[in-house]
Structure formats: C-alpha cells, structure tokens
Amino acid sequence: MSATTVMLISGTRKGIGRSLAETYAGRGWQVIGCSRKPSDFDHPNYRHFCLDVNDEPAVQAMLTEIRKTHGRLDALINNAGIAALNHALLTPVETARRVFETNVIGTFLLCREAARLMQKRKFGRIVNFSSVAVPLDLEGEAVYAASKAAVETLTRILARELAPLGVTVNAIGPTAVRTDLVRAVPQEKLEALLARQAIPRFGEAADILNVIDFFLRPESGLITGQVIYLGGV
C-alpha cells in the first residue's frame, strides 16, 4: 500500500477542479483527476483519467486501477458538474437528463466506488458539491438546483450509511465563482444573486479550498452530513 495520501477529484480539466488538483498535488497528495477530455496538467503527483462520471464501467475501472496502484483512497472531491440555466418552460428534457446524469448519478457512482476502497482502511473523506442555488431557489435554475438538492440528500444519507465504515460525507455550496459554469449567466442575474448573500462578492477558488481543507482535516472526524454554503446564504 502507498504511504502517500491519495485523493480523487472529478472535473479536473479546468476551473475549480483544476485549481484543487494543482493545490493538493503541490502539497504532496497523490492526486487522481478525471474529466471527459484530456488534461494538460502535468505533475509527478498527478494522474488523469478521461471518462464521463456517469459511465459505470469506466468509473469502476478507474477505482480498480487506484486500488491496484495505491491500495488506498483517502479523499474524494466530487467537483464535476454541469449547469443548465434556462427558464423551465424552455428547458429541453435532454438537458435535464444530462444535468441529472452528471450531477446526481456521477456523484453517486463516485461515492459508491470510492467508499468501497476507503472502507478497507476504515478512513475516508468525501466532499460533494452543492450550490447556493438550492437554498436560494434561484429562478432559471430549476433543473440545476433540483440536481444539487439531490446531491445534498445523497450527502446526508451516505453520511449515515458510511459512518460505520469510517467515512465522512459532507458538501460545500459555493456561491457563483467566475468559471465556465457561470459564463453564460447574464450580468444582472449574477448581481441579483450576489445581492442575496450576506457577503456580496464572488467566490474564489481559495474560498472553496478552505472549506474542503476543513472537511479533510483529521480533527473533522465528527463532522459529517453537513453542507457549508459560502457567502452567508
């Protein structure tokens, strides 16, 4: 078994996922990343898998590879997600399905396969990604927010099911961060969102990293089933 702590992060090609991969690889974690397309992040502590997080055989093959190579998995960051910003009356059902497949099924699959490996050492930290769109009931984000509400429920129930295995499951609910995910959102919508926060500014990668660091800490062993929102939502 590898002596280095091993972390799996989904959606590492760009945005927050990329930033997290760079940070944790730089800190000495062995980081496994995945995304649909190849990554140009090159680091001795980083390995990339090209897959869709809702592709069961591909996810299983990746986790088998991690088990055989490292024999352990300490943390899973379920960052991969897609957004659909549109009035419900204009949202194609195919879009709704795609959002649920990635955000809900993808998160579930990675949690399931990761926990199987984590439980061998009776230790694991899972961090899922929700959104402030859930508590704020953001108009134009019905499907996206519903998928993230599902992620929150998954988080709370998995926290209970995985607790006897030594695995904690928490979620972070970031506010808008300037990445591709919110690129298509009109400026006035973003400003209206910020106005509903106690602290009306965009999130930064460092804000998200801080919450994840908290969940990962060895001292956070009694923290599970929680969702922490940014911005004072």
């Binding site: 055989p57 299983q60 088998t64 088990r67 199987r116 439980q119 061998k120 006897p164 295995l165």
Partner: protein, 99 residues
C-alpha cells in the same frame, strides 16, 4: 470458469473478511457457512462488506464488474446470500450470463 473456482474465490473473500472483522463476526471458511438469518454471525453491514469483497475478487480474476445485489437477487424467494455456497452459485450464474 468452473463452479469450484468461483466457490474458492468466495471462500478467499471470507478469509479476507475474517482478517478485518471483529471476533464475533468472523465466519467459518466453509461452503455451508450461513450468511443470512438467525444462524449467521454477520450483521447487515458485515454482509455488505463481504459482498463487496466477493465482487472485488471476481473483478480482479475475471475482469468483469458484477453487481451481486441486483434486482433479481433481491426478488428471489430464497436469497442467494443465504450461504457461502449459494452466493458462489449466484456469482457463477451471473458470470456465465455476462461472459
């Protein structure tokens, strides 16, 4: 693959389970060992763990990911998880269908 080969894998999984289990949940390494019901030493989480170990061993040996607790298994009148022997038979059946 032969039935005996799959049974041997399930028995290996039982041995591996015994290494990580608390004493009261350790199982006899035998085809007759009960996995479900009053005569089983396993609690529900113990059974989940054992099934995960068996699935892992099958994946490593045959390069195929099986879901042993599928809908068919859950709807059978006699659960395929009642004993080591029946679990091995069910795994063999699923493997044969998948190959």
């Amino acid at each position: 693959m032969e039935k005996e080969e799959v049974l041997a894998l399930v028995l290996e999984a039982v041995e591996e389970w015994n290494q990580q289990a608390d004493e009261e949940q350790r199982l006899e390494v035998s085809p007759e060992t009960r996995l479900l019901g009053r005569n089983s030493k396993l609690d529900s989480l113990g059974l989940v763990n054992l099934i995960v170990l068996v699935e892992e061993k099958l994946a490593d040996r045959y390069d195929v990911h099986l879901t042993l607790a599928d809908e068919r298994a859950m709807s059978q009148e006699r659960s395929p998880f009642r004993s080591v022997q029946s679990l091995a038979e069910y795994a063999h059946l699923l493997l044969t269908e998948k190959k």
